[in-house]
């Protein structure tokens, strides 16, 4: 977010810094770590004894402590402390993942198109002591392409229904047209790393087979589609063999391999639920859940609003910093001009004043820039939670669809029973029984048995998903509380710290311009 601004104004800032200031602390180029340099200069400034700033927290040490902790977090991992440690609080197991070294590779031409397309692969490095990965202190690397990540994400969605599964990065075709290939690849690398780390932080997913295979098993990602018994029953027995064989050529789009027939049946059920006169046979009963869901809807709405306003705040902070910088630059030019053309002592005195104003404005401008970089880091937590809300919605959708499956199967059973009744009634009328009808009844009874098995499966699945929802909601509440408290605290400390530094700059200028 801050990247583009840097390149634009970089030259004029260099100019400013070389022109203005004979003070040693300002001779530094902007490539120095801004946090450290300004932290130390503020310490020097605050040696003045007339500190009427009776602060609750002693600024230099306090501010420095905070800033050095930001400093370390800016060196590589931009996750919150909780996330980056990737460790289970109960034990000391860890799972560190990093994504690096994008390389271009050629697609093996097994297609008719000659020349082949290229794609990028990323080096995934894992360090872990989790037992699933082969015991203490293992480290391994392999290469993956984005398509593999999509596969991983899809498989997790199937296997972990009801869980708040982190959302994978977009395929985002549009953005790749706007930025250069290099920028796009780098951005993707960052997003992939963030995604994998989030997976590693999830208490259930970090132990999953899918993730392990993705991280450890070289070669084409072999994750097979899970077999969804209910699905196969609804689709009709004919499709079962193909699913058992794991035919990849089938529809890979939606979760759980919904295809047409199942979709149709469930849609019909959904319509019946909504518009039919009768209540469905199974309904969402958990009132507590429904209340929570509503509250989360409201939460998401407000969160998205805060996120928007946060962006606007960041923009305003950026703007004021830029304008302050431009003001400083204008005063630098004015100073230079007056010094060169000075005929009177009064001009030189004025030039000294304008130089001091320029210095202060440049310093303030730098402080605004740093303030903003930190603000962005803190308020990013809001965006993270918007992503988490997507995951929550997906988990709730899993629940709804599982319920719908149960409802559909119940209806099927009901209608099957009805058909048997009708056939039995009809066959009674024929003396000696109706062989074809009796056969039909036997078939239907078989279908009922299979369908009942499927319904049992579906009910179990539904209960499991409900339980997953519940435990995840608990986890969410706790983590949300901690994350936001730390975000608020970080934001406030940041604002206070930089405001103090700016006060120092302006107080110095006030002293310098006090000619009475």
């Amino acid at each position: 977010m801050m990247g583009h601004e840097e390149t634009d104004v970089h030259e004029s800032r260099e100019e400013m810094e070389s022109l203005v200031l004979d003070e040693p602390s300002n001779g530094r180029s902007s490539s120095d770590n801004p946090l450290l340099s300004s932290a130390s200069s503020s310490f020097i400034d605050r040696q003045s004894p007339d500190s009427s700033f009776n602060t609750f927290l002693d600024p230099p040490s306090y501010a420095e402590a905070i800033f050095t902790s930001f400093d370390s977090s800016s060196n590589g991992h931009d996750e919150s402390p909780r996330l980056s440690s990737n460790s289970n609080p109960r034990s000391s197991d860890y799972l560190y993942i990093s994504v690096s070294d994008p390389q271009k590779e050629q697609e093996l031409s097994n297609s008719l198109v000659s020349g082949g397309t290229t794609y990028y692969t990323y080096l995934i490095t894992t360090r872990t002591n989790l037992p699933e990965f082969g015991g203490p202190g293992s480290e391994f690397t392999l290469r993956r392409r984005f398509r593999d990540v999509v596969t991983l994400s899809d498989r997790l969605s199937e296997s972990y229904r009801g869980f708040f599964i982190p959302i994978r990065p977009d395929k985002s075709v549009v953005e790749s047209q706007v930025m250069s290939k290099q920028e796009f690849v780098e951005q993707r690398r960052v997003l992939l790393e963030r995604y994998l780390r989030r997976l590693a932080a999830h208490p259930a997913i970090r132990r999953s087979e899918e993730l392990r295979v993705f991280l450890e098993v070289k070669g084409k990602l072999p994750l097979a589609r899970s077999i969804d018994v209910a699905s196969s029953v609804i689709d009709g027995a004919a499709r079962l063999p193909r699913q058992l064989l794991g035919d990849e050529a089938m529809d890979v789009s939606a979760k759980g391999g919904r295809d047409l027939l199942r979709m149709f049946k469930e849609l019909k059920q959904a319509m019946t639920n909504d518009w039919g006169g009768t209540k469905p046979l199974v309904v969402e009963e958990d009132k507590e859940f429904m209340e929570r869901k509503e509250r989360l809807v409201e939460f998401e709405h407000q969160l998205s609003n805060v996120s928007l306003q946060a962006e606007s705040l960041v923009k305003s902070q950026q703007d004021i910093g830029e304008t302050m910088g431009e003001l400083g630059l204008a005063f630098v030019k004015l100073t230079k001009f007056e010094m060169e053309e000075a005929l009177f002592e009064s001009q030189r005195a004025r030039a000294t004043d304008t130089k001091n104003v320029a210095t202060a404005a440049v310093k303030a401008s730098r402080l605004y820039r740093e303030l903003n970089a930190q603000t962005v880091k803190h308020l990013d937590k809001l965006h993270d939670y918007l992503g988490i809300m997507l995951a929550v919605n997906n988990a709730f959708a899993d629940r709804s669809s599982a319920l719908l499956t149960v409802q559909t199967l119940s209806s099927e059973l009901a209608s099957l029973h009805l058909r048997i009744e009708k056939l039995e009634a009809a066959s009674l009328k024929i003396f000696g029984g109706d062989r074809s009808r009796i056969r039909k009844i036997e078939e239907l009874k078989e279908t009922i048995r299979v369908t009942e098995d499927a319904k049992t499966c579906a009910e179990r699945e539904y209960e499991q998903i409900k339980e997953n929802n519940r435990s995840e909601l608990e986890r969410l509440d706790k983590e949300r509380h901690d994350d936001f408290m730390s975000m608020l605290r970080g934001f406030v400390v940041n604002q206070a710290g930089y405001a103090e530094k700016m006060a120092n700059v302006w107080e110095k200028l006030a002293e310098e311009t006090d000619h009475l």
């Binding site: 946060a310 606007s312 705040l313 703007d319 001009f337 009177f344 104003v357 406030v492 206070a496 006060a503």
Partner: protein, 406 residues
């Protein structure tokens, strides 16, 4: 009435011009106050009360005089002074408003009032200008007389804006010509003066840029204030749907943000009045000097032209007297008339040169004072704001601590 920065400056001005005891120096102190909007629609305008407060000048004795004046009256005064006191840097006036929408906004009117007050007081403190009869008229005449005088202004003054532009262009092109080494006729060849002209023109550019950014800074403060306010409101709403300690934390933060938003708006106004306006005033002052430069060029041209004409007339006269023509008498009369004019033109020009030399010294000193004050106020305002922000956020921390522990 709020004592503004500029009005504080005025007292500094007065004291800087009277190093010895103030009572022995002539002084005249004026107030421009109470702007009132009069009239309707397109004809609407603002009138100001002009009060001649303290004076020891004999021409102003008697009870305190209060008159009602409008912006065009000030323009009239400025134009009369410019016409009569060539060579002196006439104090600048605030601009006409270009945008209709803001013409009657409270902020614009206040800024204009302040600038008009400063204008009159600068005129009143200038040792030559304070003796002007036009100033006396302006400060004492009744409204009808003022209106009559104002509408009497003939074409010369009405055309002034475009005239000025042309004169400026001429002077500017002459400056650049000299800089480029091209010789043009009828131009002073005074290197020091060339330097001064160059300085003035360049100075305007630099100042205008500084002023532009100062104005933008005002806007940025307002925008930041607005963003903080919106952010605060949104955070409060989020807090409301969270409930419990986290909800409280959000609410507190939101409330703080809204408080700070108010501080920012206040500071924006302060920057406008105490930093941006003085810079603008500086720019106007420089533009006024440019007008004087143009007048000097005119005076020089006239002096040269007449000197040329005189020479020719002299040659002609001698020729005529040699051949004992009966037109000698006539020619001699013409010659004498022209000689008087030429002498006057030379006198005018030399006065302008002398005055300008004095004025420039005063100007530089005054501006250093003015700017020093402006910068100091700006620094104090920014420091006050920053400290306010730091205090506000710091006061929130213990509340956050207690929220997170629950």
């Amino acid at each position: 009435m709020i004592t503004t920065l500029m009005e504080q400056q005025r007292s500094v001005t007065a004291s800087s011009q009277s190093p010895r005891s103030p009572s022995s120096q002539p002084y005249l102190s004026v107030s421009v106050t109470d702007p009132v909007k009069l009239g309707n629609g397109v004809q609407a305008y603002v009138s100001y009360r002009v009060i001649t407060r303290q004076t020891n000048l004999p021409e102003y004795q008697g009870p305190e005089k209060i008159v009602i004046r409008r912006y065009s009256d000030f323009i009239w005064l400025r134009d009369r002074l410019f016409e009569k006191y060539k060579g002196i840097f006439i104090p600048p006036l605030p601009e006409k408003s270009a945008v209709e929408k803001f013409r009657f906004s409270a902020e614009f009117i206040e800024m204009r009032r302040q600038a008009l007050d400063i204008f009159v007081n600068r005129v009143a403190s200038h040792h030559e200008l304070q003796q002007s009869e036009d100033l006396r008229t302006f400060l004492q005449a009744d409204e009808e007389t003022m209106e009559r005088l104002r509408s009497q202004e003939t074409g010369i003054f009405k055309k002034k804006p475009s005239d000025f532009m042309q004169i400026f262009k001429d002077v500017q092109s002459k400056v650049s010509d000299v800089v480029l080494g091209k010789e043009k006729p009828v131009e002073e060849s005074n290197p020091e003066y060339e330097k001064l002209k160059h300085y003035i023109f360049e100075l305007e550019n630099h100042l205008a840029e500084a002023q532009k950014h100062a104005y933008r800074l005002v806007k940025r403060h307002r925008e930041l204030g607005q963003s903080l306010s919106d952010f605060g409101k949104a955070v409060k709403l989020l807090g409301a749907c969270e409930g419990n300690s986290l909800g409280m934390a959000f609410s507190e933060l939101g409330a703080k943000a809204e408080t700070l938003s108010v501080k920012l708006q206040k500071e924006a106004h302060q920057i406008l009045m105490n930093f941006e306006e003085p810079l603008k005033d500086y720019v106007r002052a420089v533009q006024s000097i440019k007008a004087t430069i143009a007048e000097r060029a005119n005076a020089f041209r006239r002096h040269c032209e007449l000197a040329e004409t005189i020479k020719l007339k002299e040659i002609n006269l001698n020729k005529l007297s040699l051949i004992r023509s009966d037109r000698v008498g006539e020619a001699e009369m013409e010659y004498n008339e022209l000689k008087a004019e030429s002498d006057e033109a030379t006198q005018t020009f030399e006065t302008i040169v002398r005055l300008m030399n004095e004025e420039i010294v005063c100007f530089q000193e005054q501006k250093t004072l003015d700017m020093g004050t402006a910068f100091h106020q700006f620094a104090k305002g920014q420091a006050r704001l920053a400290n306010g922000i730091a205090d506000a956020w710091r006061s929130l921390l213990p509340k956050l601590e207690s929220c997170s522990s629950s």
